[in-house]
């Protein structure tokens, strides 16, 4: 059996290689037949698995992940958190943005094994005690989602911005969200929504 797939290989193999070195010291490889951490796939391949521990939206998860899985795949396909979207799967659009230890990261370009020992926040983690965040409410009030597909990523980048700077300028908002494409091109409304969620409400 061929051990790689060329179409997706360039990025995955590259980051996979780098990732393995980083995580080797603190993660535990799992034998291929021990796939108890897997949720919904049958074992059909001799794919290396690594057992990791990560915190997602405040809940600790111990999971065995295939080394080739991206963090997006882990979240969407194995932890049931489909609010994180895949727009390009190659780090161009930002729809998959999550917070990794509070910093925005493209989860499509982050291997799941790299999340070992780290804290991940997704769009599902923004709502607290049944209440949407001030930023989410501003997104609702200012029509920031059109089709809504980029919205999760825009929200996560903006959440990180507001955490480090409660009163950003329009320029700072645009720069913080520059990695989040919106093909509906609803950029004006998104910036207005973020402004409304700043300490001074954009005044």
């Amino acid at each position: 059996m061929k051990d790689s797939h060329d179409s997706e290989v360039s990025r995955r193999e590259f980051i996979g290689g780098t990732g393995a070195a980083i995580v080797a010291a603190n993660t535990i490889p799992v034998k291929a037949q021990d796939r108890s951490g897997e949720s919904n796939e049958r074992a059909i391949e001799d794919v290396p698995l690594t057992r990791i521990t990560l915190t997602v939206n405040g809940t600790e998860h111990r999971v065995a992940v295939e080394d080739r899985w991206t963090l997006t795949e882990l979240l969407r396909d194995h932890l049931g958190l489909t609010g994180t979207r895949i727009g390009c799967n190659r780090g161009e659009c930002g729809a998959c943005t999550v917070l990794l230890d509070g910093e925005p990261a493209y989860s499509c370009s982050t291997l799941a094994v790299w999340a070992h020992g780290r804290s991940v926040q997704t769009v599902e983690g923004l709502e607290k005690s049944g209440r949407v965040s001030k930023l989410q409410q501003a997104f609702i009030d200012h029509n920031a989602p059109q089709c809504g597909f980029c919205t999760s990523g825009q929200l996560m980048s903006a959440t990180a911005l507001l955490q480090r700077n409660a009163n950003p300028t329009v320029r700072e908002i645009r720069e913080a969200l520059a990695g989040n494409l919106c093909r509906c091109s609803n950029y004006n409304a998104i910036v207005e929504a973020v402004q409304a969620a700043t300490r001074t409400g954009g005044a």
């Binding site: 391949e45 799967n89 161009e92 059109q146 089709c147 520059a178 989040n180 004006n188």
Partner: protein
């Protein structure tokens, strides 16, 4: 003209599903998981033109986890009902006579990206790996990328009989026709100007990469797919698979954007359906971003040659357009080029040939025939105005279409849009009578353009129900692609029924549960399906008045399929755009520094999303003007600039704040006088930007996009 205020309609209303959209709970096609489902991937041609001599799938089939492989040898499924005729794929008559059949997989491959095989496997990694194990022996053929070369004698034949696309009767006829007396118009002219304008392919590039999830219940197909029209998608899919409409249920609850070419089915819907039928389990086909960018459809590129006759006083007396539209190898949509009818000049001739090349397939993108056509004609007219020494605003007011005895409008505000826009923008001070006259390396200039877009009426359906609880349920076949159609439909029902919006529920995006809708394309959804909601609400009110509110388990149900007309009058949305740009003549950069739009779209039903329809469309248009492109390597026919990065779609950092004003009117037609909104904003954005660039640097940019290299070439 003041309009009568209404209670719900006209109020800024956050979309009713905004919560789902900001919490990640909105379920897009790829978010759906069904027990036992398989994942499928599509292998694509890596050559622009070839015959497949041999295709060997044995190694792929032997890969553990692979469940099935599909090629042209195993599955001969027509796509587009066996028709490739633009805009006519719903025509049974054409299906029977077409000589240019397109299948889901073709052994004659005609562009890089064309599907050649598909694999269904237990997960997407296995499916991707299996694609690499499929061996294809191509007999490569000469290819052609350029529309003019494609129609020269001896050009590689993408179809036997030549590369001019067939019309619905298999004729190779140009689109267009004549009005008035063209020769007399040119004879009357004091001066005649000729020029060529060209526009690029622009990919729709909606954020959600396409997917389709199919499963069968007996002989019935259930298809989850991101479509702009569940009704049309169902009909297309049924016909392609040889089924009756009732055997197909199309469901689309949320979709990540649709900008035109999704009001129908796609080949991947058919692949999902065929795999699911063969294997007896649900199958999800997923396209990668690159697949989506290269192997769905985008705006056709054009070559437009204009000839314009004009009197010394600035009156246009004749307009002639000969054009070519690059459709890629399959005709998906018309290839027409719009714009001439926004001028009053009655002596016109238009002749557009849709041409096949070995580029990606073209299709509809937001106002499909307009931005490229308006770029051509209004660049041409801008040039004429400067040549005659006339302010473009005055030239526009002098030559734009106006109501006449024989050309009546339901209402007309184009002059108002232009005048109000010029004032808001401060045209008199921002526009330079002498183009390129700014001091220093960064040159500032202003440009304008004006448009109209058909706000046609037509048939669509809605069902409305009330139960004893006093809950009103609207059933409409909309999929809410982004403009907020679910909210608009609910608001219309609430308004007409005189109940709070919170009393109204909606059932949408499901061809089994909802009646026919035209779908969300052509900016028709609000006017047609929205009007059906109003009519159904009127009927329900009448029933309630006659019978009282339902009691116990009973319900009252009303439905409507109105087909209103304008009694021969034109019904148009109008608009004018005014743009200021700064051009860095050292670096070649163009920056939009001010953008003012005035639109008349009838009554604005929900101002919040309506504004963002205009602003978003304008920004897409700026992208078409300045950056977006699909470039090919002419030596080998390989596309070079697919995807978000190379396709250069605009980001937060690239866009100006758009200032929009709606002139609200009510012509008594459509739902409370609402007209077209969604496509209006993009139509003149490219040309308004281009005209501003001319004013800034004094060089006419005739080829989109206006990139650095083109600026530097002329200013150096």
């Amino acid at each position: 003209m003041a309009i009568d205020p209404l209670k719900t309609v006209g109020q800024n209303t956050p979309r009713i599903d905004a919560y789902e959209r900001v919490t990640g709970q909105a379920t897009y096609t790829r978010d759906i998981k069904l027990p036992g489902m398989l994942y499928a991937r599509v292998l694509r041609s890596n050559v622009p033109h070839a015959m497949i001599r041999r295709i060997d799938t044995s190694k792929a089939e032997a890969l553990p986890g692979v469940r099935a492989v599909m090629t042209h040898e195993t599955h001969k499924i027509p796509y587009g009902s066996g028709s490739i005729s633009g805009g006519r794929q719903y025509s049974d008559a054409h299906k029977d006579i077409t000589t240019r059949l397109r299948y889901t997989f073709n052994d004659h491959v005609r562009y890089v990206g064309e599907p050649v095989a598909a694999v269904a496997a237990v997960n997407r990694h296995v499916a991707e790996e299996a694609l690499q194990l499929i061996e294809i022996d191509y007999e490569e053929l000469p290819f052609v990328l350029d529309v003019e070369e494609a129609i020269e004698p001896g050009a590689p034949e993408i179809w036997s009989g030549g590369n001019i696309a067939h019309d619905s009767e298999n004729r190779q006829q140009p689109i267009g026709g004549r009005t008035g007396d063209l020769e007399a118009g040119f004879a009357e002219a004091d001066q005649i100007f000729e020029d060529r304008f060209t526009t690029q392919f622009v990919q729709d590039a909606q954020m959600e990469p396409r997917s389709a999830l199919a499963h069968w219940e007996g002989d019935k197909l259930i298809l989850h797919t991101p479509t702009q029209g569940v009704s049309n998608c169902r009909h297309d899919t049924a016909r392609d698979l040889g089924l009756e409409d009732h055997q197909v249920q199309v469901i689309c609850q949320y979709m990540g954007g649709g900008f035109g070419d999704k009001n129908g089915n796609y080949y991947f819907d058919l692949i999902a359906a065929a795999f699911a039928r063969d294997l007896g389990v649900p199958v999800m086909v997923e396209l990668s971003r690159k697949d989506d960018w290269l192997a769905t459809h985008g705006r056709w590129h054009t070559v437009q040659d204009y000839r314009v006759g004009v009197k010394d006083d600035g009156t246009v007396t004749a307009i002639q357009l000969n054009g070519l539209s690059g459709m890629g190898p399959y005709l998906r949509r018309s290839g027409n080029v719009a714009g001439m009818d926004v001028y009053a000049c009655e002596n016109t001739e238009k002749s557009i040939l849709p041409v096949h090349t070995n580029r990606v397939v073209s299709g509809n993108f937001r106002a499909p025939t307009y931005p490229q056509g308006y770029f051509g004609i209004e660049s041409m007219m801008d040039e004429v105005a400067y040549k005659l020494g006339i302010d473009p605003v005055q030239f526009a007011l002098k030559n734009m279409v106006r109501p006449t005895e024989t050309k009546q409008f339901t209402n007309f505000t184009l002059d108002q849009c232009i005048e109000q826009g010029a004032e808001l923008f401060d045209w008199a001070n921002r526009w330079k009578p002498e183009p390129g006259s700014g001091e220093g390396p960064i040159k500032r200039g202003a440009g304008m353009a004006f448009m109209m877009f058909n706000a046609r009426l037509g048939a669509s359906s809605a069902i409305l129900r009330v139960n004893a609880e006093g809950r009103y349920t609207v059933y409409v076949g909309v999929t809410d692609i982004g403009p907020g159609a679910k909210t608009t439909m609910s608001m219309l029902a609430a308004e007409e029924l005189g109940v709070p919006l919170s009393d109204v529920d909606i059932v949408w995006g499901d061809s089994d549960r909802c009646p026919y809708s035209v779908g969300e394309s052509g900016s028709r959804c609000t006017m047609m399906t929205g009007y059906a909601v109003v009519e159904a609400a009127r009927d329900l009110k009448r029933q309630i008045a006659e019978n009282g509110m339902p009691q116990g388990d009973s319900v009252l149900i009303a439905s409507a399929t109105p087909a209103p007309t304008t009694n021969g009058k034109l019904r148009e949305g109008f608009g004018a755009h005014f743009v200021e740009v700064e051009v860095d003549t050292h670096l070649g950069d163009v920056r939009v520094t001010k953008y003012v739009t005035v639109h008349e779209s009838g009554r604005i039903l929900n101002p919040l999303p309506a504004l963002d329809q205009i602003r978003g469309a304008v920004i897409q248009g700026i992208g078409q003007a300045l950056t977006e492109d699909l470039r090919y390597d002419s030596r080998n026919g390989q596309p070079l600039t697919s995807g978000y990065y190379w396709g250069r779609h605009l980001t937060h950092l690239d866009v100006p704040q758009i200032e929009n004003v709606f002139i609200e009117t009510d012509d008594g037609l459509g739902p409370y006088g609402a007209k077209t909104v969604g496509e209006s904003g993009i139509i003149i954005a490219p040309v308004a930007v281009a005209n501003a660039v001319y004013n800034a640097i004094g060089h006419r940019m005739r080829d989109l996009p206006i990139t650095r290299d083109k600026i530097l070439e002329v200013v150096a």
